[in-house]
Symmetry: C2
Subunit: 128 residues, 2 copies
């Protein structure tokens, strides 16, 4: 089973790689046969190729992720709350999300599920 430390490292690596727009680094966190369902209720993506395409698309707006600590890691799963900020002209979109990652013995992510709905999105105006 993945250790708490492996799961924490993967979540921190995910947030950093996503915010840096590095799809390859994100994909490297996933097992080859991993699944992604984001948001829950939409089509489940299977495997590195589909996951890479999803993240390249998701990152195309320059979104940054901010972890709302702490990570809850137990058994083979890490649950974590975070928010997404996407800057547009004269506004910032804020999205609150909870993700679930399950892990294999090697510490790779085997499934990712993202929980968020329209009621978790709001627009704010930039400071200054």
């Amino acid at each position: 089973m993945a250790t708490i430390e492996q799961m924490h490292a993967a979540v921190h690596g995910y947030v950093a790689a996503f915010s840096a727009g590095d799809a390859e680094q994100v994909v490297a966190l996933f097992a080859p046969d991993a699944t992604v369902e984001d948001p829950v209720g939409t089509d489940v993506l299977h495997g590195h190729e589909a996951i890479r395409a999803f993240y390249i698309r998701s990152m195309s707006m320059g979104a940054k992720l901010f972890l709302d600590e702490p990570i809850r890691a137990v058994a083979d799963t890490a649950a974590f709350a975070f928010h997404v900020l996407v800057e547009g002209p004269g506004m910032i979109m804020h999205i609150d999300v909870i993700d679930l990652f399950t892990f294999n013995e090697a510490g790779k992510v085997t499934s990712m599920k993202a929980y968020w709905g329209p009621q978790n999105m709001r627009q704010t105006t930039p400071a200054g």
Copy 2:
């Protein structure tokens, strides 16, 4: 499918009933054949009788729940972060948890999974 409003009401009702120590009110939120896994990785409890016994035991220390908003409700699931405070002599135990509730068409909870580990528990001292 349960509506966002039904899921929000159930989560708020859960937090209030747990904090009030009202096991019957908590059990009433669950479908008769619901399951509870708290924390994830332990035995799954099935049905009202086992769920009632679990909550009576969980509430016996007078724990209070505090929702860390917002609730993320999507499809048939609500994910929410919260913390638990349990007062003891000269100390307060603080536990950070993420729960997942799935719902049936009637808006009753069909499964509850709680994500938290030893690293999500800490002791603090009461103010004043």
